[in-house]
């Protein structure tokens, strides 16, 4: 029996095609064979060996993930050890706890990472920026694209901090779950997607 890997990008809203393209390029680069699928509805997440929750608007994403019944499926997958990558809004969606901005819109966070997040830690769009980052898992700087970016303000003992900017955590991992405050899918640098795929193919 041929085992065929499926990797899902949650396609409710946001930078979906960018992640799909980045994953396909990263797979090609490493000579691996897997199908990358955009997930809009219930029923696909359980078949996937890796899940990406892209950037977009977290308030919107959380609402629709719950409405479509995908939220529970992602929680189950995370519990089974399936690698999960959350970027920007995705970092908020997978967190355990939000700030008052998140609380006031009564979003249901997935709580699969032991983190407390600040929704727009880096301000509004006029404050958005690019910067060269030191990320622990990478040997050389990575261009971080921060768009109305969130940050992790606090995390539990099981969380490994991978990068900080000022006093905010902007990249972290907890076992199979990886969270980034920035957008690797908006650059041509595939190293973070490769790191995620390492997790996918080793589990």
């Amino acid at each position: 029996m041929v085992f065929f890997m499926k990797i899902g990008v949650i396609a409710i809203q946001g930078a979906v095609s960018e992640h799909v393209d980045a994953l396909r390029r990263a797979l090609k680069e490493r000579g691996a064979d897997a199908e990358v699928v955009a997930i809009k509805h219930k029923g696909v997440v359980p078949e996937c060996g890796g899940i990406v929750i892209p950037g977009g608007e977290s308030t919107t994403l959380c609402r629709l993930l719950a409405r479509e019944g995908i939220a529970e499926e992602i929680k189950d997958a995370a519990a089974r050890g399936v690698p999960i990558l959350g970027t920007c809004a995705g970092l908020i969606v997978i967190a355990k706890e939000g700030d008052e901005q998140v609380e006031k819109t009564s979003q249901e966070l997935l709580g699969i990472m032991d983190t407390k997040v600040n929704r727009n830690a880096f301000g509004r769009q006029r404050d958005s920026f690019e910067a060269e980052l030191e990320v622990e898992i990478l040997g050389s700087p990575f261009t971080g694209v921060f768009i109305r970016a969130p940050g992790i303000v606090n995390c539990g003992p099981g969380v490994r901090v991978l990068s900080r900017l000022d006093d905010l955590i902007i990249a972290a991992e907890q076992g199979n779950v990886l969270a980034l405050a920035f957008h690797p899918e908006l650059t041509d640098d595939l190293r973070i997607h490769q790191y995620f795929l390492d997790k996918v193919f080793n589990c």
Binding site: I12, G14, K40, G56, T59, T60, A89, Q125, S128, R148
Partner: protein
Amino acid sequence: MDFEKLRHGTELIKRGFARMQKGGVIMDVTTPEQARIAEEAGAVAVMALQAVPADIRKAGGVARMADPEIVQQIIDTVTIPVMAKARIGHFVEAEILEALGVDMVDESEVLTPADPYFHIDKTQFTVPFVCGARNLGEALRRINEGAAMIRTKGEAGTGDVSQAVKHMKQIQGEIRALAGKTKEELIMVSRDIEAPIELVVETSKMQRLPVVNFAAGGVATPADAALMMRLGADGVFVGSGIFKAENPEKMARAVVEAVNNFDNPAKLAEISKGVGAGMKGISASMIPVEEALQERGW
């Protein structure tokens, strides 16, 4: 943090913001309460306005940027991005909106143009801009001026989707026609549509606009929104369609769900049930050319 090393307002940052809106619905709102309803329904952003286009059309006179007080209140109310409209060419209105903290400026034909010849030089701003277009030439001229996002003009405030359909098909058709053309043929297209050759070549290669392209101008029902997505829109602006509907809460939620299920007719049928009457509207063909908002801009 070494703030010297942070690069703000780059093309990547501006276009990236627009990309985060993809697959979403952006709703016109005139009060903080409406903004809250839009956010609750799942809008990805709100457009803060003094009056929705249907009322602007009815009121006549000169339509200008919204009262900064209202824009500020809306910014303070919601967690999602807040956009606002500036008049075509009115770079000071745009600067004021940027200073308020607006996340994107719509240089919009819905307001009365402030400059009969020139659009705003959008490259001079940190805040990204969205602009309307009816055809590929207009779209690429706006991108060349620095627009990070394009939307069809449609005919705002009518509740008649026909003009948005026309403009979306026009742009898509012109892009398809670029495929397979030689460099010299593309140069000829560039002259004909009055758009820079670099952008014509890039569009030909990508077979889509180099920035996100939303539908706008007459979207009034969940089915309208799904139609625009089927035609290849990256997302949808709904102006008067939400708060001129019989039941704005239901309509807002239904439009969001329709965009997420645009390719599933059975689901769309469910979504469209019991949302109440859409805005009354007016057929775009009844509007004399001199009163058509889409004629504004060059």
